[in-house]
């Protein structure tokens, strides 16, 4: 069923009783051409682009729970391409361009809203650093504007500009950045992939890999054996666990990142604002809740929940930036498990096992990357070569020294 305004009116007049499920809850078949492990945004986008761009028809997406139940449903929904390094910029800009056409492409309302991403600076050194970042972006034909404090005041008058420790001196604005509805991205890709014949198999956890005469030939799952000669894993948070099943180690640690939402209030924050004196970012959802987050808890974790010291820390940073938040009640907080790679950048590459392809190490930049990640991972699986904007995301870069360390922290995953 193609969604349109006529379609909506037609069903509205009939009491909305005629809508059908947006995708099939498929039963696993015995064999496929390609299996994608992980039914999050990245896995579903990969399946969709494999079918649409590369004409592969027999594809299964295996999800251990329900689709979008992992990090796709736990992020702060920000989309942007304000990166610095040449290894990252073209990739995230491709993602931004795909976001811009996503809803028409998928015929699904993903609520992509280019409301702007504003990174604040508080000192001369930070201004220089953001000016450099803005210049790098513009050299890659990505939009960036350096704002003075008066311009920031016009956009966000509610910020605390005059504090003695962290006075706001301006900001770097990417107007094309913004937010998208995270669940709708998952559902949109699922529906579009399903309509091209992709089987989305839920409650199907991969428990091992099948090898026959030295070659990878399928996966063992909680719903039986499923065969395929090409298997892609897109399970960020749990990539190390699948890698160990396949017999290799990765330069990744799993860490918990918490996010928060307040009660709904009237429109206050027009776009996404990030605090330069700490690590804090905030936006307002269309329902009115303030959605915000900060740093990792900082220790290895698969628990999908964090601890109170980081809750306190994030709220303190929020109040330092927006004192008015003191009167807003926090509604919920939750945690997601991040694949923190050793240089803070992702991996889209072949694995050491023939036929097994890796997509992981997204740190906390996975959501915005969803379309390009699927696009490039599909390219890699279908053609056995890296897409040109994802060439830097090789697994071998750690051994060869070609790391992509945006933050310059070195091999210390909890600091990226």
């Amino acid at each position: 069923m193609r969604y349109s305004v006529f379609n909506l009116i037609y069903h509205a007049l009939r009491g909305h009783r005629g809508w059908t499920p947006a995708w099939r809850d498929a039963q696993p078949q015995r064999a496929y051409e390609v299996i994608i492990v992980g039914g999050g945004g990245h896995g579903l986008a990969t399946a969709y682009y494999l079918a649409r761009n590369h004409g592969i028809r027999r594809i299964a997406v295996l999800e251990k729970s329900y689709i979008g139940s992992g990090n796709a449903g736990r992020n702060t929904t920000i989309i942007r391409s304000n990166y610095l390094l040449p290894g990252n910029l073209p990739f995230y800009e491709l993602s931004m361009k795909l976001w811009e056409g996503l809803e028409q492409q998928l015929n699904y309302n993903a609520m992509v809203s280019q409301r702007g991403v504003l990174n604040l600076f508080h000192s001369d050194a930070q201004r220089d650093s953001l000016a450099r970042r803005g210049n790098a972006m513009r050299m890659h034909r990505v939009d960036a504007e350096l704002l003075d404090v008066a311009a920031v005041r016009r956009i966000a008058p509610f910020l605390d500009f005059e504090t003695a420790r962290f006075p706001i001196k301006g900001g770097l604005l990417q107007r094309r950045g913004g937010t998208a509805r995270h669940d709708a991205v998952v559902w949109g890709y699922a529906r579009a992939a399903d309509s091209l014949g992709v089987d989305i198999v839920q409650n199907c956890e991969v428990t091992g890999f099948i090898r026959e005469s030295g070659r990878l030939s399928g996966v063992e799952t909680t719903r039986g054996e499923i065969r395929a000669t090409k298997i892609g894993i897109a399970v960020a948070g749990n990539t190390s666990r699948l890698a160990r099943m396949a017999g290799f180690h990765l330069p990744i640690e799993s860490h918990v990142l918490q996010a928060f939402v307040s009660e709904a209030i009237k429109p206050l924050i027009p776009g996404v604002v990030t605090f330069g004196a700490g690590h804090f970012y905030i936006s307002q959802s269309d329902k009115g809740g303030l959605v915000f987050g900060g740093d990792l808890d900082g220790y290895n974790s698969y628990a999908q929940r964090g601890n109170l010291p980081m809750v306190e820390n994030v709220c303190e940073e929020g109040l330092a930036l927006i004192p008015g938040m003191a009167r807003v009640r926090m509604l919920r907080s939750w945690g997601g498990v991040m694949d923190m790679s050793m240089d803070g950048s992702p991996i889209i590459d072949r694995s050491p096992v023939d036929g097994l392809y890796l997509n992981g190490g997204w740190c906390y930049g996975g959501f915005k990357a969803t379309p390009a990640s699927g696009w490039c991972f599909a390219h890699l699986i279908a053609r056995d070569e890296s897409h040109e904007v994802a060439r830097a995301y090789r697994l071998s870069r750690f051994a060869s020294g070609h790391i992509i360390d945006e933050k310059g922290q070195g091999a210390q995953p909890n600091l990226h």
Partner: protein, 88 residues
């Protein structure tokens, strides 16, 4: 999460900073030194479950600790002073 420092007693995890897995580097004279260094710096077991890791009691006795912790539940199973485990 609370960690029982062998010297200071049980304290809030906010008093500690985290380094990462308790990885030991091999001797510098090995033939495959380069690949061993790469493995020690970059590759991690990253288990969901029992994990041996290094914590520093920054706002306490400033000791390095080897903490054995379950990464699926955050339960702390054992805490030892790093200097004692290294000499053993």
């Amino acid at each position: 999460m609370r960690i029982r420092c062998p010297f200071c007693g049980e304290r809030d995890s906010g008093e500690y900073t985290y380094l990462g897995a308790n990885v030991r580097r091999s001797g510098a004279s090995a033939d495959d030194e380069q690949s061993r260094l790469f493995e020690a710096v970059y590759l991690r077991e990253n288990p969901a479950g029992r994990h041996q890791e290094l914590w520093y009691h920054a706002f306490g006795c400033r000791s390095w600790l080897v903490v054995t912790r379950d990464t699926s539940t955050h339960e702390i199973l054992a805490v030892d002073l790093a200097k004692e485990t290294v000499s053993s």
